[in-house]
């Protein structure tokens, strides 16, 4: 049976399904496509897959047949490819490396070759597998220890929390770093939105006025004129202010004429006659009111 000696870290790993169950499912299902996608996802990378395959040889890890393992891995990848499963790049990189390893193991060493021998490469691979397995075993042993809050308990009604005299305040490095990271992150993002806040610059307003110039043969109220740009109530103020300032500038250049009947009355615009530098007197009146 596959992985009969493999001990899945069920203990505390609620989110990770035991991998050989998935694997067996796959064998039962044959080449069921979705099934295999799940299988790949069930492995945490190529090393995990290799370790699982090595387990099927049922020998001590330092005595596995690397060559056989390579074959198994390559066959697995080949099968996945046949049924058109998108393999993550690192699985393919591992496949290439293993194919290379295989060649090193099979071909007699070339005289001027000073790279690692096939045996050295195989030893490296076996070492990595053994180390990963050792860490998994350690994780299992660790999580199965008696744990505070589950198997043994602290004083339920503490009376004081002793500290070193120096600091009357409590904070951990994690507190500090997460405060900093989230502050900078928050600010980095809001900065962007502030940048995008819709403020009509004078140049913007001027450009819009320019574009609309053709339409204003007759006296037209500035409000009316800008109507199509004032969909957002929040933009009203900035649009009016910038447009008006731009208007004054254009009046001075003689491109526009402007008039206003009285205080708080609508401001009217029309295209100015190019031949009249200096513009109309109304301009001053407007200045007084504003």
């Amino acid at each position: 049976m596959y992985g009969s000696r493999f001990k899945p870290q069920k203990t505390d790993a609620s989110d990770a399904a035991p991998m050989e169950e998935l694997w067996q499912d796959d064998r039962d299902r044959g080449l069921h496509e979705e099934g295999l996608v799940v299988d790949i996802a069930g492995f945490e990378g190529p090393l995990d897959l290799l370790l699982h395959l090595a387990r099927t040889q049922k020998v001590d890890l330092s005595r596995i047949s690397v060559l056989a393992l390579v074959e198994q891995y390559l066959a697995f990848i080949e099968r996945a490819r046949q049924i058109r499963i998108e393999l993550a790049a690192d699985y393919l990189v591992m496949a290439a490396w293993l194919a290379y390893l295989k060649s090193r193991l099979l071909i007699p060493r070339q005289p001027k070759d000073d790279g690692p021998t096939g045996e050295e490469m195989a030893a490296t691979l076996a070492f990595r597998l053994k180390r990963l397995e050792a860490m998994r075993d350690a994780a299992t042993r660790l999580v199965n220890r008696n744990r505070l809050g589950r198997d043994f308990f602290a004083r339920g009604a503490p009376e004081h929390i002793p500290t070193h005299r120096r600091s009357a305040f409590d904070a951990s490095l994690y507190d500090l770093l997460s405060a900093y990271a989230s502050l900078r992150q928050r600010h980095a993002i809001t900065q962007v939105t502030i940048e995008k806040r819709t403020v009509w610059s004078l140049a913007d307003a001027r450009e819009i006025l320019h574009r609309l110039m053709g339409e204003v043969e007759e006296w037209t109220a500035l409000d009316h004129f800008l109507l199509r740009y004032l969909t957002e109530p929040s933009e009203r103020r900035t649009a009016m202010a910038s447009a008006f300032a731009a208007t004054l500038e254009m009046v001075r250049e003689g491109q526009l004429e402007i008039r206003q009947e009285g205080v708080f009355q609508p401001i009217y615009l029309r295209r100015g006659a190019p031949a009249r530098p200096g513009g109309q007197r109304e301009e001053q009146g407007v200045d007084d009111h504003v």
Binding site: F153, A154, R155, G156, A157, E159, H160, I161, P162, T163, R165, R166, S167, A168, F169, D170, A171, S172, L173, D175, L176, L177, S178, A179, Y180, A181, S182, L183, R184, Q185, H187, A188, I189, T190, V192
Partner: protein, 244 residues
């Protein structure tokens, strides 16, 4: 190992013990019962009802007997087992309350604002108050900086050689000690904060985290703080008269 069984005879008056001894089957069981009672009372957030303890003792053990025995056992110790109505609790021996009563006052959690300011000072030092506010996007209350100065984690470093000669802040040796850092350069950088999941990927490409400079040297545009500066800032009352 036999503390519980040992002083059994002189526990809570001889007559009591004698009359109850008859009901006890096995001293081992009694010892186990005492261990259970001890652990239950210890781990509980409040006084434990005697009935609750009784429910959890091995069958045939008299809870009253066990508790009285335990009480006697703890009588001369630093911690006493006390009865409150029909509940049991551990309390510090009254004559020792002076040791436990924390003399240095309560340890307070650093506020969010203070953490933010502290981290900015750590990473961006030497940094002026205006710069801190610029990074945080909010005004920093005087209290926040005071807390950090009081905690001994932040200090006045010097003055920036710019108009207004603003004071620059930096962290202290105590700061490094408290947060378990050997030097400021041990503070994790951008990649490491990202790698540890503290910064998400959603950050602008020009986002940077400064590499804090060593605490001792002054920056090129910094002047050392003088005695006069401190007095001017109203921070050095000992030399002044107002304190009297």
């Amino acid at each position: 190992m036999s503390e519980v069984d040992g002083p059994q005879d002189d526990a809570a008056g001889g007559a009591d013990a004698a009359s109850e001894a008859a009901t006890v089957v096995d001293p081992r069981r009694l010892h186990e019962a005492a261990r259970i009672a001890e652990a239950l009372v210890f781990a509980s957030a409040g006084p434990v009802p005697e009935a609750y303890i009784a429910d959890r003792l091995p069958a045939g053990v008299d809870v009253g007997h066990v508790m009285r025995q335990l009480k006697a056992l703890y009588a001369g110790r630093g911690v006493n087992l006390v009865q409150v109505a029909d509940h049991w609790a551990f309390r510090t021996a009254p004559d020792l309350s002076f040791v436990v009563r924390s003399d240095e006052g309560e340890v307070r959690k650093l506020s969010r604002a203070a953490l933010e300011v502290l981290s900015i000072i750590a990473y961006h030092q030497p940094v002026t108050r205006a710069e801190i506010e610029d990074i945080r996007g909010v005004q920093t209350s005087k209290g926040t900086l005071d807390v950090l100065l009081e905690a001994g984690w932040v200090r006045f470093r010097g003055r920036r050689r710019t108009p207004g000669r603003p004071v620059t802040f930096g962290t202290t040796k105590d700061f490094l000690d408290h947060f378990g850092l050997e030097e400021l350069r041990d503070l994790p950088g951008l990649e490491e904060l990202k790698g540890a999941g503290l910064l998400s990927g959603r950050i602008p490409s020009n986002f940077q985290i400064p590499l804090p400079i060593g605490e001792e040297e002054l920056a090129d545009d910094e002047d050392p703080i003088t005695q006069m500066d401190l007095e001017e800032l109203g921070l050095l009352t000992p030399g002044g008269k107002e304190d009297e």
